[in-house]
Structure formats: C-alpha cells, structure tokens
Symmetry: C2
Amino acid sequence: MVQATALPRNESGIETAIGILKQRFGGRLQTGAAIREQHGHTTTWIENQSPDAVVFAHTTEEVSDIVKTCAAHKVPVIAFGTGTSLEGHVNAPAGGISVDLTEMNQVLAVHSEDLDCVVQPGVTREDLNTHLRDQGLFFPIDPGANASLGGMAATRASGTNAVRYGTMKDNVLSLEAVMPDGQVIRTGRRARKSSAGYDLARLMIGAEGTLGIITELTLRLHGIPEAISSARCSFPTVDAACQAVMMTIQYGIPVARIELLDEMSVKAANAYSSLTLPETPLLLLEFHGSESGAAEQAETFGQIAQEFGGADFAATSSTEERNKLWQARHDMYWASLQLRPGAHGMSTDVCVPISRLAEAVGAAQDKATELGLIAPIVGHVGDGNFHTLPLIDMENADEIAKANEFVGWLNDLAISMEGTCTGEHGIGQGKRPYLIKELGAATQYMAAIKAALDPDNIMNPGKILSD
Amino acid sequence: MVQATALPRNESGIETAIGILKQRFGGRLQTGAAIREQHGHTTTWIENQSPDAVVFAHTTEEVSDIVKTCAAHKVPVIAFGTGTSLEGHVNAPAGGISVDLTEMNQVLAVHSEDLDCVVQPGVTREDLNTHLRDQGLFFPIDPGANASLGGMAATRASGTNAVRYGTMKDNVLSLEAVMPDGQVIRTGRRARKSSAGYDLARLMIGAEGTLGIITELTLRLHGIPEAISSARCSFPTVDAACQAVMMTIQYGIPVARIELLDEMSVKAANAYSSLTLPETPLLLLEFHGSESGAAEQAETFGQIAQEFGGADFAATSSTEERNKLWQARHDMYWASLQLRPGAHGMSTDVCVPISRLAEAVGAAQDKATELGLIAPIVGHVGDGNFHTLPLIDMENADEIAKANEFVGWLNDLAISMEGTCTGEHGIGQGKRPYLIKELGAATQYMAAIKAALDPDNIMNPGKILSD
C-alpha cells in the first residue's frame, strides 16, 4: 500500500461524539474493526485509513443530527456511498465518523412528463435504471462501478456516455445537502434551467463531500432512444484508433459512446469476459437515435474507420450482444487486474483536448514500456479521457516508485497539453499536488470557500485541498 | 422609473481611486455625465444608478490593476459588457468604477479540431458566430440582445437554443477571471471534462460580477448541422400550443428551438418585422441534424401539432426565410414595446417544469387580464421558460403598482410550481426578494461565499444578495 498522510486527531471530541451518536443511533452506529476498515479506502492502492465509527443514516434529519453533533465537537464527517472511488475519498486521515448512506436508497419520485426524478443518495446507477426501465427512461451516467448517485455527484463522475450526455455536472438539476453546520439546504428547484443566484449545485458536485453531504438529488432523465446500435472496430495501432475518434468527434457524429481498449486491455477482456475479440486496439461504439438516425451514424463511422485502417467492423442492434460487450467494458478494471493476479492497479485519469489524444496515448504507452510497467489502457476517448492502469506488486518498492514516477509524468503531460489530471475520478488524497500544478492560484479561492463554509474543517478533511 | 435602493458611498475612496486610475488610464477613464449614465442601467424599468467613472480596459492586466486600486480603497467595481441586462445588473447603487470591457473584443483562438475557442469578454455572440462561420462552427447561446459573451456568462444566459444546447453553464469550458483582490485565476483548462477541484467556472457563471470579473472565456463550439430546417405552426389557443410543446419534449424530439408567441406577440411581430403571420398563438421551431434526421423531426412534430389543432404548419429549409423569422423572434422585446409606444416593458422570466407550462402560461394571461395589463408573452417553452412583458406607463403609479403586483404574483406562482423566478435573466437588483423565497437557507451560503471572496463587498455590490 502507498501510505497516506495522517492528520492530527481530536481524540476527546471523537470520543464524545461517538458517545452521543451511540445513544441516538444504537445498533446503527458501529465501531467494529471490520466495518470500520470496510469504510476506509479499500478498492485502490492508497492505504486504508479507517474512521472511528460508522453510522447508517436513514433520513436527511439524521444526517443533519450527525453533522450537528460532529460540528459541536469538531469531529470529521465522511460521507460514504459504495466506496468505489479510486483516490482515497472515503479515507479518514484524522479519524471521525463515516456516514453510510447506502440505506437511504429510495427513488422518491419519477416525473416522467418532466424527464426528471428525485432520489436518495444511496440509490445506485443500476438500481435507478432498473426502476426507470418500464417508463422508457434512463439515467446515462455510468462510471465503471455500480456507484451510488450521491457519490457520483460528489466526485463529478461520468463514464462511457459522457461524450453525448455530459457528466454528473450536466445531469443534476438540484441537490438537497446537509451543510457543515448541519443546516439542510436545497440548491434549486425542478426547472430545467435557472439563473437564480450562485450555482451551489455545481459547487457541491465535485466537492467530494468537503462542503457538505448530499442527501437528495433531482436528476435529469432521458428517453430510452427508439434505436440503439453498437459497433466495434479493430485497428492496427492505438494511434489509428485515436485518429478515427478525433475525426468522428470533429465530424459531429453524435455518438453516445466511443471507447478505446488497447491491445493489452482487449486481451484482458477476452480472458475475463469470455470474448473472442481480435487482439489489437479496439473501439467500442454505441449510437442512439431513430432507426434511420442510428443506422446513419453507424454507417458514417464505418467510413471513417475504414480510412484509418479499421477492420472487423461489426454493428449490431441485438440487445444481448450489446449488453455483453458493454458489461465487458464496465468490468475492465477487474479484468485488467487479472492480467497480473495479486497486483494492485494504480489508475490514472488524464483528459486532454481531443486533438492531443493520439499523441498523449502513444506517449503513455511508450513511457510505460520504458519503465517496464504492465499498464493496459482504456478510455472514454470521445472526451479525450483515458485510463492507464499500471499493475503493481505492492511489496516491490522499486515498482511502486516507478509507478509513482509514471503517474506524475502522465499528469504533468496532460497539464502541459492543456488537459487535466482527472477527467472523472476526482482529486481525493492522491491528486492534491497535481491540482495545484493544474489550477495554481485558483486553488486559493477553493480554500477560501472551504474555510468560509467549513471553518473547523470537519467535512471530509484531507481531500482536494492541500493541508 | 422604479426606484432602486441606494447604498452608502465611500466618497473619499472613490475620489482617490479615480485620481489614481486617471493617471494610469488617461483618456480611457471618463467621468462625463452622459457616459456615466450610459453605463448605469438603461434598457429597463429600474432607475439608472450611474457609476462615478468608466474605464475602458484593454487587457486582463489592466482589469487587475483597476480591481487592485479599487480593493485598496474599498471602491465598487462593476463589469460592463453591452448593458443589455434586464435586472439592474450594471447599476452602481454605491457608486464606483464601471469597467467597460467592450474593447476587449478579440477572438484569441479557434481550435476547430477540439470544437472550442478562446475569446475576450467583450466579443458579442453575433461577432463570434460571424468569425466562426467559415470554419463550419457555431456558438449556440443566443439571448435576445447581441450581448457580450462575458456578460452572458456572468448572468448564466441562454436563449432559444437552450432546449438542445444548454445554457452558458453548459458551454463554457473554462474562464479567466480577476478576483476581488485583483489576482488573476484560470478555473480550468481545455479538456472537455474535469473532476479537478471545486467548479469555480460554474460558480462565476451566474455570479453577475459579484465574485470577480471574467476576462477570458474558453467556449464549447458545435459544428453547423448538415441540415437546418425551420417550422412554424399556429394554434387555436396558448394552451393547445403548450400541450404540443410538452408532448414534443416528452416524445424526445431533439428540437433545437421551440418558441412560443402568444396572439399579442404575433401581432407585434407582424407590425415590427413586416410579417404576415396568422394572428393566433404560434410556435416557431428549428430542427438540426442530417438531411433525413431534420426532416424526420419536422414530420414527427407536424403529427403532434395536428393532434392539438395546429394549423398552417409550414416547414422551410430556406436560409433567408429562416433568418427572417428568427430575427423577428430576437426582436420581440423591441417589437412588443411598439404595442404601446412610450411604455416601458417589465419583463418577467419564470421557468417551470414542463408539465406545468400550459397551466402557468394560462394563469399568467388570466392574471394580466384581471389587472388590466397589456402583457404579451413569448417563451423558450421547450425549457418551460417564458417571458410576460407588461407594458407600463411609468408616469402612472397605479399601473406600476399593478405591474409590481403581477411580477410578484407570477414569481410566487412559478416557485409554487417547483420552478424559478429567473430562467435566464438573473437576479440583479430586481429579484433579490424572490431569490430568498425560492432558495431560502441556501442564500446564507451564497452570502458566506461572497463574504469570503470579497470581504469588502466591492464587486458589483447590491446585486443577487440582499443587503
């Protein structure tokens, strides 16, 4: 494990808060080592920093009570959804209380006529889509994991559909949140647009729980398209695949998804998901529209692909075939780990202007090779976003050093290309130095906002901003 | 004129700052009454509150120098674009310096391969689109006026294309801004998405210059669609037209524009723009796509319209005909004023969930009739946003009272329908009481952010937040 910095602990405050909350919540407050560890960071390479207690909240009022108690005693509060983040977001470097929101998992309303819905933060994206299916609606944002919608908002998540439907930033109409003083606010109403005051919804989205806890979300929905077709196309090189992506975007084809798997990732997918894809760089696409519209898009893409040496172009509108392919794509993180059993993946998440995509991916491959790293690449390439996943033996200090060198080098490269060190994973603990490199003086104003809203730094301390 | 509240003036600070700035800017600092009045609020019913001086800035560094000088002497700074806002945004209730940005009007870069561009804040939306046309690109956000892009960002503007392309919130990748202490920041880079820290771009968008001055914008662009077709369709009643809109949106037709003109507005448009439209409620639409896609959309809409008694359905792909119709739509504010020469328009701007649209528009018509007001209605109805424009004799106190009653009643109605008092005009001076009604406790955190970033309240004081 890579060590995470511990922060000073307020021992007496923590003890007092736990005592008060134990009285209030009984068996719903737990302090066992296993459950605490499970609520620290587990899915990635960053060391687990467990909270001192976990409370399972059921209502906004309960979340407010927890925050008020913690505020009174200056105790850290960390919101917890599914724990699938990759940058140490749910770690408790100063201890404190993890507020588990998974039992706040009700879809409160679906306004199909307004194409929106109201959900509690613990509803997962898959649960929501299951709930919506009968009404012909869907929610497009799909990070790899079946994450909670509250967590997805907190990290400004996106996924494979962002190229067409945007990110969480674009698909939240309004939020209810418990602020650092325990007060409950609503950032907006159900109108599809508004110019009413500062955009607090967008401020909370991506704030990673450092400014408050999201307790309810009003989400934009979309009608399930009349026609959905998928396509896959193999390319001789990653560069050729990226060139085809760039041309597709520049041509204005409204692709719903356009995903890259490099050769190593295709091998991993074949093994993990029992597929028989040609083991060369691959693009996976999805087209949404009317029957003729989706077909037209697929055809135009086919022509572009051919120009760049694309082969084995295969389009399908079979739901079963499509689902199998996209499930394999969503499982890539786990599939990649199987390339080197026992290794940990250190996922990168850079995003560059689309014109720099081929160059950035190529350079990442070369650098990984130079350092002797096994590092498959997948990407939401329609946005210029890709993930390299160096697979590291965490007992091998030299490998860890090389992986760290690689991650730093890649983040710097993206920033030098006018890109970002994180397209969708967030800053958490791991990327704080890069945030400063990327945004410089702007981070001072982030810190000022944090200090104004959370003067005692109780909301998810040690994340986003440097200490 | 409706009076605006004056705020305490820092006379000695203002005098000192003007002295320093006069030395620095010479003839580019002006204090003549005419130019000062022109930089107070002129296009609407709110009283003009002129600044003490106007400085024409040419560079970000100059804006920074102006803000630093004003910060040192606690003098208000008001950013000025084209002065076309409708809610008193550029008034100077505490006096101070108006920073005129119209001479910062360069398109700095167009990255056609990345579908983005970098512009100075004084570039207007029409100028940008003229600049882009040869490259097959366009910027979709189009408030009625030919506003500056900096001002459009500051008020989170939208217009007729928002139903498909979103608002300024959705079409700004990144901003450069001068903060209240004079420091220059950049909120992000050119990647199409990012999860890097607090979303300061979205915080500045809609902050109406109260948190800083936007000095550069990186904007998302869109390819000019292969095919654009327009349609118009007349309806027996506003209710029937709204029902058709609701069905169109719920059906998922990706209309680029869907605009309502009530009977009175159609009459005004006919008179002002020399048209011969049937004088009944009208929907104007635009469809973007491939040749077949745009045609398919128009056809599907035609079927829906028929269901609700739509008549005289006319689709066209003639550029000239289309431009004439949309120019007439953009001129509606001026056309409506001609319904009662000499009167002032008090534009409302509510936005409601689409399911409440017909009810809200109908109620607004009834209420205006009940109060004896002449109040044409136009609307970006695909978003549930519509403008009623009571035409008021500003010498008649009784009419002003009735108009105020109407505006308040309509804002309350929208809020009661889970809508907003402002879809796109912003809060400015006029809507501050409604912001509190709409968002309650959330406004306390807006005030906390304002106090943290601008402790001396020098950036556009008296706007958005109540004193």
